[in-house]
Symmetry: C2
Subunit: 317 residues, 2 copies
Amino acid sequence: MIVALAGGVGAARMLRGLAQVLPAEDIVTIVNTGDDEMIHGLHVSPDLDTVMYTLAGLADDQRGWGLAGETWNVMEYLEELGGETWFRLGDKDLATHLYRTGRLSQGAPLSQVTAELAARLGVPARLLPMTDDEVRTRVRLSSGEEVSFQHYFVRLSHDVAISAVRFHGIDEARPAPGVMEALAHAGAVIICPSNPVVSIGPILAIEGVRAFLADHRGRVVAVSPLIAGKALKGPADRMLVELGGEASVVEVARTYADVAGTLVIDETDREQADLVEGAGCRAVVARAVMHDLRSAELLARAVLDAAGYAYSTPGPR
Amino acid sequence: MIVALAGGVGAARMLRGLAQVLPAEDIVTIVNTGDDEMIHGLHVSPDLDTVMYTLAGLADDQRGWGLAGETWNVMEYLEELGGETWFRLGDKDLATHLYRTGRLSQGAPLSQVTAELAARLGVPARLLPMTDDEVRTRVRLSSGEEVSFQHYFVRLSHDVAISAVRFHGIDEARPAPGVMEALAHAGAVIICPSNPVVSIGPILAIEGVRAFLADHRGRVVAVSPLIAGKALKGPADRMLVELGGEASVVEVARTYADVAGTLVIDETDREQADLVEGAGCRAVVARAVMHDLRSAELLARAVLDAAGYAYSTPGPR
């Protein structure tokens, strides 16, 4: 089996591609929970939900987040009440958060609640939160103010410069049940094309994860979330620059060199392959833009090939 | 001004009647919060909401709870997810709970959040929760099991015998800001026709309230929630019996004798007036069934007259 480290949308697309190639039971996904936040008292897990909704075929691909066929009755009334509505919670999506929050308040760990939700939504692959403990990504703005990740990402539309990122609670967080076991048994580990700082960063910072990958970096393949210096979605490019690096596949290679033997970069970045290798990752060039399921599948095949992972399903049809 | 002590539906109707007779600014309502419960992590205040929705003219009178024109999208999806749906939360109603829970989590006290919601919904009269502290009514079933009030009331449809009731947290609870001040300035205090045990009981048990009313019982008028031995809604009649009393206006008089000089009873209970007086309350007979706004107004007038409270609005039209 393989293990995928995942943030939100980019990872979800990659996983859909992988699910075209591998049997569902051969994919274990470890998902970032540093973006989790209490919204109106509800436990919202944006990355877990994006991955779960996407794998269940329920995501709204046009909007890029949330569920297809969503309705917004609660938000409408909340707006009338003068409540805070910057974090848009659809009615269907709210049901997920009510379920999660209710079960957590009964004492169920997040990993178990996630398994219940995934089963109910018909997600075949196994989804693990990186931890059952509370880790919260905090972003320091260049103004000096520190805000939650969702405040930065959604409320401020990540349209402000930052100076630092920290993962509150990371030192006490333990890997969720199954995380280290999955890594130990993985024939390949794929770091999905997610934000290296705030999506993959927290997963790597969970006790034991970075060290394990460093010891097995030969079978770890990262996929660059930057293509021609740009993130296809989200602020990864600007974040890397604002934190003192550069917006390039070379910077991604520097970030991952200790844990990933290989970095898959897009064809448009072919000329930087040597620099990527200089930074410590073998460079593999592929078409890394996932417009549709077909391109996601082709990328998945390229990644599995780069990992030297043998799979038996037929090649591109 | 007058102060009304209120539970849910019966109180809300009484308050609508009072609002026909008195200017809104002359009515302060102190509402039970012992029925409050965390549902899926959201702070639900059923009595506050029933009173608030009713006074705002937004209540669903047919259904007897919640908002008119309600939709149920979130509950539908929650049901699909296999979540607990015994406590029905409409989409509009959920917006109230999101608002409340969000503001409480920001540190605002319940009294302030209630004022904000009431203002937003256009409730003219002042609503005060009995306390900003956490009080939770717990019901011991005759099986020995102890459950939350909502578990008993909604989940079990109050269709089981009970052996005891207690108000968890009551000893540490302080009256909400404005409660004791309102009582001190009240020309009359009206105990609405709510459940004496679980609706009015917690309010009376808040530090200082019972003692204050006992010292001023001459201006306190209670309205019996029992008519001909029956509660018009809810389990007050059975509860009184199960806790060792009887289902009658005489029992209501016994319950309130130390705090209320007068008990208003329905015409059908006229023959028990002497027994009510024997139990320690002056008995005033009126039509106590509130079918509609008009009958609620007439009852309100009878209650204010019984309290000797002078009001200037014209008499029955």
